[in-house]
């Protein structure tokens, strides 16, 4: 055991230890129970309710909640397009950065409103400080949106029979003020005291020891980095994200930032457990997610620490593993751990370049996004998992000849139809997108020569990764892809849009429909959902539906590359 492995284990243990009490707290917030922070947040929330003209106690049906969600997202979309396309002459632009082209603004807007944070621009040169702060605002509210949708589902599962699973605005505001804001303040302060900048001054200039003139980008970074880690946003302040020494100064900040990636997604599982008062069920869900996560992360750490086979053949020392695209202060193990943390959740921030990972680590990162529900994005991760639960209940119900029931509600044709459509949407968007891009490239490689940074199977992986990342609302990339072109901006923007809102509406609809149904008390004929057998069943469904649909594509990309290098 060495210190790199200890560091990784410590990160995981601390994440779980923090997620349990945080989950309890989140459960209380969504339940409307008293917490010790009420004395600050009651007046704050009242301010929001008053300013927004909202009555938080007014019940909403699930349809009303969804309309409210879509309308406010539309407002954000318009606002963002407006600012991003005109920021060059708006205030707070000391470096004189340009406005975005319409297609790039569309991509960036969708990307941030949809909690994806795919970036086809570079922070230092592509946006003004005002633009950065606006994008940071979206990092709060898009995370809050996902959590609010998740809260609606929690409430719908909890109530025995109801038309009104809670008020969207209420959940949304409380998610932002009571969960995201205080955590962000703490994390931002930790980062600043480790050297992350938070200033409105423009670029600085100095002469280096060898006599080169160096310009240094700075800006109000600490505030944004905190929320991008916590809200599974991932959109970095600087171009290279958390590999940048300002964005992630040392191993300690790396631990803090990496813990933040999984913290809220994991805590939400415990929040559900608190709200439902079902400990066993919580641990089964958490257990499946953790098992999936470990199955991806352990081989990735092994691969990266083992080093690149091609570089190994040159006869140099690889005691620090594969080092291309990685930073010395994090090392191979923590880079691989981050790579998987950020892809199983829909975070998408990076501390090492995924394009330069060894082939199989690149594949595990893609698998994390293809499955998209081992912890998953804030709120939406559980929604994806919920879809798999519904399908697993249905299949196992049929297998053993029992009525498919979940939490005392019969699952019928309508719910299964919705669940199937949502489960198939993800592979559909990824595979069709990649197929179109591959066809374009293969048909005329000279015209699209700027697209790929690497030849052969790896080039295919770059395109596959981009669509996977868009559809998983992840935002990381095989960044060698020349992606700031109208094709990629519009194609990825469209995929992100569909892959954000349909998988929110679907699960909420299922939960809403189930909530209206008559409650059937558990009997001997009920399929138990809090046993490890059922856990294995869910895992099998995830593996079959999510992982196997992608196997052919993965075989063309990373798997071929792996065998080609041996």
């Amino acid at each position: 055991m060495n210190t790199e492995i200890f560091g990784v284990i410590a990160m995981f243990v601390i994440t779980v230890l923090l997620a349990i009490p945080l989950g309890r707290y989140i459960g209380k917030v969504y339940n409307g129970d008293k917490t010790w922070l009420d004395f600050i947040f009651n007046p704050v929330d009242n301010l929001f309710f008053k300013a927004g003209g909202i009555k938080p106690e007014k019940e909403m049906t699930w349809q009303q909640s969804m309309v409210a969600l879509l309308v406010i997202n539309l407002v954000w979309f318009l606002l963002s397009m407006l600012v991003l396309m005109s920021m060059s002459w708006l205030p707070l632009n000391p470096d004189g950065n340009p406005s975005m082209t319409p297609d790039l603004a569309f991509n960036t807007t969708v990307s941030f409103v949809a909690n994806t944070n795919l970036q086809h621009y570079s922070g230092e040169t592509g946006v003004s400080y005002l633009g950065q702060l606006l994008l940071m605002f979206f990092q709060f509210v898009s995370a809050g949106t996902g959590m609010a949708a998740c809260a609606v589902v929690f409430k719908a599962i909890k109530e025995k029979s109801t038309q009104n699973p809670g008020n969207f605005y209420n959940y949304f505001i409380k998610s932002c003020t009571r969960i995201l804001l205080p955590l962000s303040i703490v994390v931002a302060i930790i980062l600043m005291f480790n050297g992350t900048p938070m200033t409105f001054k423009g670029k600085d200039q100095f002469i280096s020891m060898q006599g080169d003139t160096v310009n240094v980008s700075r800006g109000p970074a600490a505030a944004m980095i905190a929320i991008k880690q916590l809200g599974t946003n991932g959109g970095g302040y600087f171009g290279v994200n958390s590999a940048h020494p300002f964005e992630n100064p040392n191993y300690f900040t790396n631990m803090v930032e990496n813990i933040c990636i999984i913290l809220i997604p994991a805590a939400l599982i415990f929040a559900l457990g608190y709200m439902l008062k079902r400990k066993r069920f919580t641990w089964i869900v958490f257990g499946i997610m953790t098992l999936g996560f470990l199955l991806l992360v352990i081989p990735s750490i092994y691969n990266e620490k083992h080093g690149s086979t091609a570089v190994g053949k040159m006869g140099i020392l690889q005691s620090h593993g594969s080092t291309e695209g990685k930073e010395v202060r994090f090392g191979a193990a923590a880079s691989a751990y981050w790579g998987i943390s950020t892809t199983v959740t829909s975070n998408g921030s990076v501390n090492a370049m995924h394009d330069s990972f060894t082939p199989l680590t690149g594949m595990f990162a893609m698998l994390g996004m293809m499955i998209n529900s081992f912890y998953g994005g804030v709120g939406v991760g559980f929604l994806n998992f919920y879809i798999f639960i519904i399908i697993a209940v249905f299949i196992s119900g049929l297998m053993v000849g029992r009525t498919p029931e979940f939490m005392g509600k019969k699952i019928e044709a309508k719910e299964i139809k919705i669940a199937s459509i949502i489960a198939l949407l993800h592979p559909f968007l990824i595979l069709v997108g990649t197929a179109i891009a591959s066809r374009l490239y293969a048909h005329d490689p000279t015209a699209y020569a700027g697209w790929l940074n690497n030849p052969g199977n790896h080039g295919f992986s770059e395109m596959l990764y981009e669509f996977t990342s868009s559809s998983a609302n992840n935002g990381s990339g095989f960044e060698g892809l020349g992606d700031n072109t109208p094709f990629w901006n519009i194609a990825c923007g469209t995929v992100m849009l569909l892959a954000r809102f349909l998988p929110i509406i679907g699960p909420v609809a299922i939960a809403g429909i189930l909530a209206k149904k008559k409650y059937v008390p558990e009997s001997a004929g009920t399929l138990k959902t809090d046993t490890s057998t059922f856990g294995i069943m869910v895992f099998a469904v995830i593996f079959i539906v999510a992982a196997l649909s992608f196997f052919p594509a993965l075989a063309l990309g990373p798997i071929s590359e792996f065998f080609g290098m041996r």
Partner: protein, 187 residues
């Protein structure tokens, strides 16, 4: 639809005030108490700023400990990585060239002792560190160029090594800027 439009508009406004305005302001105020005042901490030699404490800079001269290759040429106004895939033949040729160049500049070093980080580009293009091995392997060259005994320089490297966090977590490393500043002070 209509009944949700005005609440959405008003809610967006108050959210902008709080999350974009007040939150940023609060963090900015606290930043004034951090070292460097949130503007980034600089390192000076003889009252002249020679770099930022966290950001790497290019060292290519034989008399200095050399930095890792950077895909963006240590351009701190726009970070960047190579994003080369592990099987890319052009990339592998480049790495081989870097090894050959290193061997020319360090004829006393055996190939199997060159740590890979010295011939592969970093993630940010601004990596401020080397692994301890990455520094030690350059000692004979620097000793010869500067005409200082190897022992003295090795002792300096040993003194500059930063242990893992709490001695337990993460890799050990050496900050290159600090190391080279101290190196210039050696006689």
């Amino acid at each position: 639809m209509k009944q949700h439009f005005f609440p959405a508009l008003r809610l967006t406004l108050i959210c902008i005030v709080v999350f974009m305005g007040l939150y940023t302001l609060l963090i900015w105020v606290v930043a004034q108490a951090a070292s460097g005042g949130g503007k980034g901490e600089t390192v000076s030699v003889n009252n002249k700023v020679v770099g930022y404490k966290l950001e790497g800079q290019s060292f290519t001269d034989d008399k200095y400990f050399n930095s890792r290759p950077s895909a963006c040429g240590f351009n701190a106004a726009g970070s960047g990585a190579s994003n080369k895939g592990p099987s890319n033949p052009d990339y592998l040729k480049e790495v081989q060239n870097r090894i050959d160049t290193f061997m020319v500049h360090n004829p006393f070093v055996k190939k199997e002792d060159i740590p890979s980080e010295l011939v592969t580009a970093s993630g940010s293009g601004l990596d401020p560190d080397l692994s301890p091995q990455g520094a030690y392997v350059q000692v004979p060259r620097i000793a010869k160029t500067r005409n200082i005994s190897e022992e003295k320089i090795k002792a300096l490297v040993a003194q500059q090594i930063q242990k893992p966090l709490l001695g337990l977590f993460g890799p050990g490393k050496v900050n290159l800027l600090q190391l080279n500043i101290e190196l210039d002070k050696l006689k």
